[in-house]
């Protein structure tokens, strides 16, 4: 155990840190020896999660405010995170909002808010960090997307579209930055046992937020660029993606 090892590992910025998936990911990063920077809106919850990480993982935790709905918030977050010590080794975007599809069909501002909270917010945060990582020739960027982004469905297509855009944004950055030593990953969970799904009752292939959070943190070092979690979703989505549109439009999937 060299104390230096801790410093050289650097810190990881987790955006959307009050999500239970993010909490598990942060704990896994802490276990791997990273310091963590947690960002979200809910201060009271951030304080609780930070205290828990400090006690259970005995790790350095920094809290930063972030609100995707506030102009400039994402850019400022990235700037501060890049200045903190130990130096930033990676950033994870977990922010997301399923929103209310029916409301989004009537109210365009709500639709745009969903897009902001799932996609455009990530542009603000990731762009300066990606550039810094590119210059340094190291670092990782991970975004939590969703299987919902693999195909637009009547039930949640605004959310799905935002996730699809997020996937494409990450894929483009990957092509640009992978050759510069920056790892760019997307994790696409299926159903996760969180507040989002609790009311729906028992669901197939339901994953615990702990498992998904661990998959998110492991994506940083793993070989896969796009991770479906739990694994079988890769095959389910392969089929769903390949259904011809004329068939798909008639189904209720």
């Amino acid at each position: 155990m060299t104390p230096l090892a801790l410093e050289t590992k650097g810190s990881v910025l987790v955006v959307g840190a009050t999500s239970p998936i993010a909490r598990a990911a942060a704990a896994e990063f802490a276990r791997q020896g990273y310091a963590v920077i947690l960002a979200a809106r809910d201060k009271d919850e951030l304080d609780r999660i930070a205290a828990d990480l400090r006690i259970r993982s005995r790790v350095e935790v920094t809290l930063l405010p972030y609100d995707a709905d506030l102009k400039g918030s994402g850019t400022r977050l990235a700037e501060i995170a890049l200045e903190l010590e130990p130096p930033l080794a990676g950033a994870v975007w977990v922010v997301g909002d399923l929103g209310d599809q029916e409301r989004a069909q009537e109210d365009v501002t709500h639709a745009k808010a969903i897009v902001r909270r799932n996609f455009t917010g990530a542009i603000d945060v990731f762009t300066p960090i990606a550039n810094a990582f590119e210059a340094r020739g190291a670092g990782f960027l991970i975004a939590v997307g969703s299987v919902a982004g693999d195909r637009g469905r009547a039930k949640n297509y605004v959310y799905g579209a935002a996730k699809a855009a997020l996937h494409a944004f990450m894929s483009g950055m990957r092509q640009r930055l992978d050759r510069k030593g920056v790892r760019v990953r997307v994790v696409k969970p299926g159903f996760v046992d969180t507040a989002m799904t609790f009311a729906m009752g028992p669901l197939p292939l339901l994953a615990s937020p702990d498992k998904v959070g661990q998959a998110v943190a492991r994506a940083a070092t793993g070989k896969k660029d796009e991770i479906y979690t739990p694994g079988p979703w890769r095959w389910i989505m392969l089929i769903i993606r390949h259904l011809p549109e004329r068939v798909f439009k008639k189904t209720n999937i």
Binding site: I49, A51, R56, A195, F198
Partner: protein
């Protein structure tokens, strides 16, 4: 049932059950992820931990049941003093995982680690050290409670009844949000254990009463199925946290392993067992083997998980009792007439052929906590009874016996007690009801247990 609103995503369930899987009732479940959302629903509401109570204490027919399990954060820890402040949904399992490697253990633990701090306070649980250390109350220095009027209060022993009545309050005085606990320092994660065999009940009880044999933790397993001269034979199991210098060299040679926690991987009970599995013949065979096997062990070292939570190695072992479910019956009777009462209870159980192989006998120490807190000085016997026709009548018959001897049954395991017998067992019940009326005038916090015992 009312439709659920979008803002507070809840789930309507038809058959909510606790560990005994009896009774099963319809309810609305809420599982807040953030502390702010941990509060009552619109109507009658109840906090629920991991549902390790056996009967109807954590059930509320057609009401709003609010799960604490996602509110499990450690908030403050003083590594010098070993004082931990955590959210009420923290399980003992998670606590042990995090703190045993740092040299700290829970001051009191029930026979399972899959229960929450909130549940341990609400039932004022006891462990194998009750005769020496008292109940869960003894380790708790402060509580944060949400009252029926929505206010959040930090309570300490200086707050008198508001604090004390939460212990054994069965969730009826408010929702416990945070618990501050004095942990127990340990130098190794091993237990030094001694098993001694007793050929019958008087012998077993004499061993338990013998101070020379006593240790920090003490519990006896009793074979309820043995008849005649062997009736009530058993194995007394005593132990303490092993100190480094007690351990054999092979442990001490690897100091980094002294405080490892070995939770093991819980294996699921594979199926809902057919009821013949636990036929009296099979149980008798099992008990005979168990008696020989455990008795032969003598003095040995074992990891603390194995000592305190042996059943946690099998997830869902409650399915072993098959579809109808089971009840766990636990009572305590004062020492004076304890032998007589325990002997009589065992013979009534045998006469009713209420087969059980998990029977545990133990000495309890002083009472603490609120008026509905279970532990009191005396002998306590706990056993599983598979549910079938006549079992509730049998329990009511035993309840009367226990009350006649000045004893009581454990509400966290009960599903049969009647209000009149309950009042005989818990003579201070009126103080509890008055207190509840004062802190919860509209009867916000309810449970099926509270309704059955006419506490609400």
């Amino acid at each position: 049932m009312k439709p659920l609103d979008n803002k507070r995503p809840g789930r309507a369930v038809d058959q909510l059950e606790s560990w005994g899987r009896y009774p099963r009732v319809p309810a609305r479940l809420f599982r807040p992820e953030r502390m702010r959302d941990f509060h009552a629903g619109e109507g009658p509401s109840l906090a629920r931990g991991l549902g390790r109570s056996y009967g109807d204490a954590a059930l509320l027919t057609d009401g709003d049941v609010v799960l604490s399990e996602r509110l499990d954060r450690c908030l403050e820890f003083n590594p010098e003093a070993g004082v931990l402040r955590a959210e009420a949904g923290l399980s003992l399992d998670a606590l042990i995982r995090a703190f045993v490697p740092q040299g700290w253990f829970v001051p009191v633990t029930p026979g399972t680690a899959f229960c929450t701090l909130g549940g341990c306070v609400a039932a004022n649980v006891h462990g194998k050290n009750h005769h020496r250390d008292g109940s869960f109350r003894q380790g708790v220095t402060s509580l944060e409670m949400l009252s029926a009027d929505g206010s959040v209060r930090d309570l300490t022993p200086a707050d008198g009844d508001d604090f004390e009545f939460a212990f054994g309050g069965m969730g009826l005085t408010g929702m416990i949000r945070e618990v501050e606990l004095q942990l127990r320092p340990i130098t190794t994660s091993m237990m030094m254990v001694k098993h001694s065999v007793a050929g019958n009940l008087p012998e077993l009880m004499a061993q338990m009463d013998d101070e020379a044999r006593d240790d920090h933790y003490s519990v006896a397993w009793v074979d309820l199925l043995a008849r005649g001269e062997r009736a009530g034979r058993g194995v007394l199991m005593t132990g303490h946290h092993a100190e480094i210098n007690e351990l054999p060299m092979r442990y001490a040679a690897h100091p980094e392993t002294l405080l490892t926690d070995r939770p093991g991987r819980a294996r699921p009970f594979p199926f809902e067992a057919p009821t013949w599995l636990l036929s009296p013949g099979n149980l008798r065979l099992f008990n005979s083997m168990y008696h020989k096997w455990q008795g032969r062990k003598g003095t040995f070292f074992t990891p603390l998980r194995t000592f305190f939570h042996p059943l946690d190695a099998i997830r869902n072992w409650n399915r072993m009792y098959g579809k109808p479910g089971f009840v766990q019956y636990q009572f305590v009777v004062p020492f004076e007439s304890g032998r007589e009462a325990v002997t009589e209870a065992i013979s009534r159980l045998n006469a009713a052929q209420a087969s059980s192989f998990l029977a545990v006998l133990k000495r309890m120490g002083a009472s603490d906590g609120g008026p509905l807190s279970f532990p009191m000085p005396g002998y306590t016997l706990a056993l599983d009874i598979p549910l079938r026709e006549g079992v509730i009548d049998l329990l009511n018959n035993l309840d009367a016996l226990v009350a006649d001897h000045g004893g009581r049954v454990y509400l966290a395991k009960d599903s049969a007690l009647r209000p009149d017998t309950f009042r005989r067992m818990y003579p201070d019940w009126e103080r509890f009801v008055n207190h509840k009326r004062q802190v919860d005038p509209d009867g916000r916090w309810q449970s099926d247990l509270a309704r059955r015992l006419e506490l609400v």
